[in-house]
C-alpha cells in the first residue's frame, strides 16, 4: 500500500477552477466514506483551502490505477464536465511524502513560509482521524509532517519577517519603540491600507488610535470601528504631541506635512521618536522630514521594499528547508513501521 496525492493548487490552476473542486467542510465526511467504500483508498485525508484541493490517500491500488480512480472521483464529486489538462497533478510515493512535508511547512504556499496552511492541514487531518478514515500509514505521515513543519519553523528563517506592507510597518514600529502599548497612532486619511495598518498596530498592542479625515463622518465611523477617537482634519497637527506613530494616506495633491511644520512639533514632543508611514500616492509627507532627528519616515515603496527583501530571504531559506525535508522523508521511509 502506498501513499499518493492528487489535487490542484494555485501553482497549476486558476481560482475559477479551484473553486469548482473545493470541498465544503460538511461535504468531506461523505467524500471520505465514498473513497473508502469504493476501495480506492484504505485511508484518506481531504485538504480544501482557497489555494489547494488535495486528496492524500493510502491506496492498495497500483499508482496509475489509483490516480485514474481518484481523478474520476474528483470529477464525479463536483459534477465537473469541463476539459482538464495539467491542472490536476498526481504524485506517487515517495514524492507524495515530500510534497506533504512541503505543504505543512508552507513551502508550497503562495506566500512562502506562511503558517495558515499548517492549521488547515491539521484540521483536515483531525477531521479524517475523527471519522476513522486514517490508519497507520497516514497517521504516521501526517504526524511526521507536523513535526517537520515545527522543526523547520524553529531551525530556519523561512517564517521570519513581514511579507506585507502592513506587517512591515508593524515590525518597523517594534524596532523603534520598546512596547507599542505606550503609544498612540494617528491615522490621517481613512483609506483602506491605513485602516489595515492601524488594525495591525492595534493587534500588536498599540494603545489607541486617533482618526482624522477631510470627511468627518468617515473619520468618526472608522474611529468607532477601531475603538479610537476622531478629530477634525484641521486639528491633526495638535495631536502630534501625544501620538508616536502617524499613518498618512490622504488624496491631497501636495505634501500636507513638511520640515517647517514638523520641526516645532518635534520640539513640543521633547524629541521623542516619531514613526511616519506615508502610504499616499502622491506622497503626503515631504521626504526632507526624514532628515530630522528622531523622525523615521517610510513611504509605501520603502515598506514594500522591506516586504520584498523578506520574501527574498525566505526564498533563500527554501534550499535549507528542502534539505531537512529530504532527510526526514528518508528517515520516515527507513522506519520499519512505515
Amino acid at each position: 500500500m502506498s501513499v499518493v496525492v492528487i489535487g490542484l493548487s494555485h501553482r497549476t490552476s486558476p481560482v475559477e477552477l479551484r473553486e469548482r473542486f473545493a470541498f465544503a467542510e460538511e461535504m468531506i465526511p461523505s467524500a471520505l466514506k465514498s473513497l473508502h467504500d469504493s476501495g480506492i483508498a484504505d485511508e484518506a485525508v481531504i485538504v480544501s483551502t482557497c489555494n489547494r484541493v488535495e486528496i492524500y490517500a493510502a491506496t492498495p491500488l497500483m499508482p496509475d490505477a489509483a490516480f485514474a480512480e481518484l481523478k474520476k472521483f474528483l470529477v464525479a464529486q463536483h459534477a465537473f464536465d469541463g476539459a482538464l489538462g495539467d491542472e490536476i497533478y498526481t504524485i506517487p510515493e515517495p514524492q507524495s511524502l515530500h510534497h506533504l512535508f512541503k505543504v505543512a511547512s508552507g513551502l508550497d504556499s503562495m506566500v512562502i513560509g506562511e503558517t495558515e496552511i499548517f492549521g488547515q492541514l491539521k484540521q483536515a487531518y483531525e477531521l479524517a482521524f475523527q471519522q476513522k478514515y486514517t490508519g497507520a500509514r497516514l497517521n504516521k505521515a501526517f504526524q511526521r509532517a507536523f513535526n517537520v513543519a515545527k522543526h523547520i519553523r524553529t531551525e530556519t528563517n523561512i517564517q521570519r519577517g513581514s511579507v506585507s506592507v502592513m506587517s512591515a510597518a508593524v515590525e518597523l514600529a517594534e524596532k523603534i519603540f520598546s512596547s507599542l502599548a505606550e503609544h498612540e497612532v494617528l491615522v490621517i486619511g481613512a483609506g483602506e491600507t491605513s485602516e489595515k495598518t492601524a488594525r495591525a498596530l492595534l493587534s500588536r498592542g498599540a494603545r489607541n488610535v486617533v482618526v482624522t479625515n477631510r470627511s468627518p463622518e468617515r473619520a468618526t465611523a472608522l474611529a468607532a470601528e477601531l475603538g479610537g477617537r476622531a478629530v477634525p482634519f484641521e486639528q491633526w497637527p495638535d495631536e502630534f504631541e501625544k501620538i508616536d506613530i502617524a499613518i498618512s494616506s490622504t488624496a491631497a495633491p501636495k505634501h500636507i506635512l513638511d520640515r517647517a511644520k514638523l520641526e516645532p512639533l518635534m520640539k513640543r514632543r521633547k524629541n521623542r521618536p516619531l514613526l511616519l508611514i506615508d502610504i499616499a500616492v502622491p506622497r503626503d509627507i515631504d521626504p526632507a522630514v526624514g532628515t530630522l532627528d528622531n523622525v523615521y519616515l517610510y513611504n509605501v515603496d520603502d515598506l514594500q521594499g522591506i516586504a520584498d527583501d523578506y520574501l527574498k530571504l525566505r526564498q533563500e531559506e527554501v534550499a535549507r528547508c528542502e534539505k531537512i525535508i529530504a532527510e526526514k522523508v528518508a528517515a520516515l521511509l527507513a522506519a520499519n513501521r512505515f
Partner: protein, 273 residues
C-alpha cells in the same frame, strides 16, 4: 605553575576577548540575525580568566588591585565585562557583549604594555579599605560609562540603519532604539552615581603633605568628567536633547576618558605620592 602569573591569566583573557571581537565582526556581517550565545560565552570565558588574574593580584596584597596603570586598566575592563555580562542576561541585550569585545581587546592589549606595570613591593604603600572603595567605585563607574558608550554605539548603528531604510535594521535581533536609549541613559546614570560616591570617598582619604585637591590633574580631570556626564544626563532628561546627540556625547566622553585617564594618572601627585 608558579611561573604562571596573574599577567599570564590576563594575557589569556585578552586573547579570548580578541576571539570574541573577531566573532563580533562575523555577527555584524551576518546582521545580528541569530542569537547563538557564542559571543556571550566567549565573554564569560574571558571574564573567568580575567577574574583569576585580578584575584591573584588582589590576594597578593590583600587589597583592591588598583595601584598602577596596568591594575587600574584591568580593573576597569573587568568592571566593563561584569556590566556587559549582567546586561547580557536579558536576551534582547545579549549582543551588547559583542559590541564591547573590540574595546576590551584593544584596551587589554594596551594594558599589557610592561611599562604600565612597574614592580612594587609585596604590599603597596597606599592600600586600605577606604582607598580600595574609592578605586573600586570609580573604576566600576568607568565600566558603566564604557558599557553605556557601547549601548550608544548600538543605538547609533540601529538608528542609522532605520533612517537609511536598511533591511538589516529590521532583520537584526538588536533591541528597539528606544530600549537602547534607555539602557544607555541608565548605565550612564549608574556610572554617574558610582563616580560621585567614588569622588566623595576620595575626598575623605588622607593627602600627602602639601598636596592639594584643586591643583591635582587627576582630581581636576575627574571633576571635568563628573560635570560632562552631569551635563549629558541633564540635557537629555530635562532639555529634550536628541537621542542621537546624547549617544554621540556618551561615546565622545568615554573616548576622552579612555584616552586621557592614564596621562592624568601619571601626572597626579595624589595618585603617585
Amino acid at each position: 605553575m608558579a611561573w604562571f602569573t596573574d599577567r599570564h591569566f590576563f594575557l589569556l583573557a585578552v586573547a579570548v576577548y580578541g576571539l570574541s571581537a573577531a566573532y563580533a565582526v562575523f555577527l555584524w556581517r551576518k546582521g545580528f540575525r541569530r542569537d547563538d550565545h557564542v559571543a556571550y560565552f566567549l565573554l564569560l570565558a574571558g571574564f573567568a580568566l580575567h577574574s583569576v588574574a585580578l584575584g591573584k593580584r588582589g590576594f597578593s596584597f590583600h587589597a583592591c588591585p588598583v595601584n598602577n596603570l596596568y591594575e587600574a586598566t584591568t580593573f576597569l575592563l573587568w568592571a566593563l565585562v561584569v556590566a556587559g555580562l549582567a546586561v547580557g542576561l536579558l536576551p534582547r541585550l545579549r549582543f551588547l557583549g559583542a559590541f564591547a569585545s573590540p574595546v576590551l581587546f584593544a584596551v587589554g592589549v594596551f594594558a599589557l604594555m610592561p611599562s604600565l606595570d612597574p614592580p612594587h613591593g609585596a604590599r603597596p604603600e597606599f592600600s586600605g579599605g577606604l582607598r580600595s572603595l574609592h578605586a573600586a567605585t570609580i573604576l566600576l563607574a568607568y565600566g558603566a560609562f564604557g558599557l553605556g558608550a557601547v549601548a550608544a554605539g548600538m543605538f547609533l548603528m540601529q538608528q542609522h540603519d532605520l533612517k537609511a531604510h536598511k533591511i538589516r535594521a529590521v532583520l537584526s535581533l538588536l533591541p528597539s532604539i528606544q530600549r537602547l536609549e534607555l539602557v544607555t541613559a541608565r548605565l550612564v546614570f549608574a556610572g554617574f552615581v558610582l563616580l560621585t560616591v567614588g569622588l566623595a570617598v576620595g575626598h575623605e582619604l588622607p593627602r600627602p603633605e602639601g598636596a592639594s585637591f584643586f591643583s591635582d590633574p587627576k582630581v581636576l580631570w575627574s571633576a571635568f568628567l563628573w560635570l560632562a556626564y552631569l551635563e549629558l544626563l541633564v540635557a537629555h532628561r530635562f532639555f529634550g536633547r536628541s537621542s542621537r546627540r546624547f549617544a554621540i556625547g556618551v561615546i565622545g566622553v568615554f573616548l576622552f576618558l579612555l584616552l586621557t585617564f592614564w596621562i592624568t594618572n601619571l601626572y597626579s601627585a595624589l595618585h603617585h605620592p
